[in-house]
Symmetry: C2
Subunit: 273 residues, 2 copies
């Protein structure tokens, strides 16, 4: 037997090996495997198990902390939103309004605490701490937003949670951008990136551009430049050329730069001995 | 060569094995190891790596959430505590007082928001929502507590963070128990359990008993019953017999139950074929 490193006694007492063949037994899944499929040594396996346990404990601790720090749930907010001066000690209301003021049905006010708004958004902080009109009147008008989006926005400031679909993610990203709520913006952007596809790529690219969503912009751009042959026939493309040709120029610049990089990569590969 | 499961071509192309011996190379630490020290198969290694990455991402997400949900830092609270009606929109103050009222130096009031107190503690919730004296006056007197402990307590309600030593952990555990702030109680208890030793075991046992700290109680009791031969000579033991003999009875009961269990375990072991 060539090069067997175990002494006979070690094989008998310590090795988890099948004595009739050269297979070994995996400590994790308990299946037999051959040398070809060997993964880690025992020491690394044990270290990895310890690490995993530690990480899981850390996650439990953090989840408990989040639960502790979170304010009430959307449902609680719903229950109390009709009595803003009620037992929740709110001291400000937010009202969704269109650009034309209150034409149409006036929105139901969403009650909140100045302290919470100030702690979550530098824009609310400047607005409320500097004795501007909003602080004196206790009313903050938020333009161009639906009541549902405003309610979800305020709720997120309390709970760090939102129930998203694509429309809501766009609406909340716009609000998060406007009021500088970075955590919410990142949350919405991550959701929208997960929903990116060829069909919505041009619209998403323009949206991401408008609202400084860098990760979304890059992902959409990469999707578009991978399918340049199909681009010019699309309705969204033709509209974008009309409405914002600079954005179209940026698409072509990204495409060109990708081509140059790919060519350079091929050159350097082919030059290898 | 006995039972080698790899075909020649697989050995050349896929196996990370040393061709001159029966050793394998660990995918994780890159060291060679023998069959005796084999840990996992390759598939389990890859799964474990993916899991670890996922757990780490989850931890990052949770940490960002905690940072978002946390209110200001202790330092901020310190800066603003002299102007409770200032730009922080606080609507209540907490005052540390001894049992005799304000004899001695009156404490500096610690400003807070009713909404935060109510959201963190069922006791504050009942107190402030039911129009009790505290709600009307905007002043909550907290008896038998130092200013520092009160300040740390309020700060924890905003940030889920506290800087603990053993005295502070005891003080905060008492407050957490009184105002039913479970998260803080668990945090202090965990800290105190980590500081348990033979010297402080009897005191800790009595403290844990008094404040319903179950995990601390069990750990202290286990430490004591492991050292029964040294117990009766201790000053703390003699004092406890004087002050609260029922607690001493519980120690003996735990000791007895441990002995019975150990004996039963030995019996069942010796009866095995």
């Amino acid at each position: 037997m060539r090069g067997h490193l175990c002494t006979a006694s070690r094989v008998d007492t310590e090795c988890e090996t099948d004595s009739d063949s050269e297979t070994m037994r995996c400590i994790s899944c308990k299946e037999y495997y051959s040398r070809c499929d060997a993964g880690t040594c025992k020491e690394c396996y044990e270290e990895a198990s310890d690490t995993e346990e530690e990480l899981k404990r850390e996650i439990e601790d953090l989840k408990a902390k989040v639960a502790f720090l979170r304010f009430w749930s959307p449902l609680d907010l719903h229950i109390t939103h009709r009595s803003p001066a009620g037992p929740c000690f709110t001291d400000v209301v937010l009202i969704a309004s269109s650009d034309d003021g209150f034409i149409g049905t006036p929105s139901v006010p969403v009650p909140a605490h100045k302290a919470v708004l100030v702690s979550r958004s530098p824009v609310f902080k400047a607005m409320l701490e500097n004795e501007m009109e909003e602080s004196r009147s206790g009313t903050i008008k938020i333009s161009d937003v639906s009541y549902d989006a405003l309610r979800s926005f305020v709720n997120y400031l309390y709970t760090a949670e939102a129930c998203l679909d694509e429309q809501m993610a766009c609406d909340l990203l716009v609000l998060a951008e406007k009021y500088e709520v970075k955590h919410l913006k990142a949350y919405c952007e991550k959701f929208l990136v997960s929903k990116l596809n060829w069909d919505n790529s041009v619209m998403s690219y323009a949206f991401a551009h408008q609202h400084n969503a860098k990760h979304m912009l890059e992902t959409a751009l990469s999707l578009i430049t991978d399918n340049m042959d199909k681009l010019t026939k699309r309705k969204e493309y033709i509209e974008l050329v009309e409405e914002d040709p600079r954005l179209v120029v940026e698409i072509y610049e990204a495409y060109l730069s990708k081509q140059v990089n790919t060519a350079a990569h091929k050159d350097s590969s082919s030059m290898k001995p």
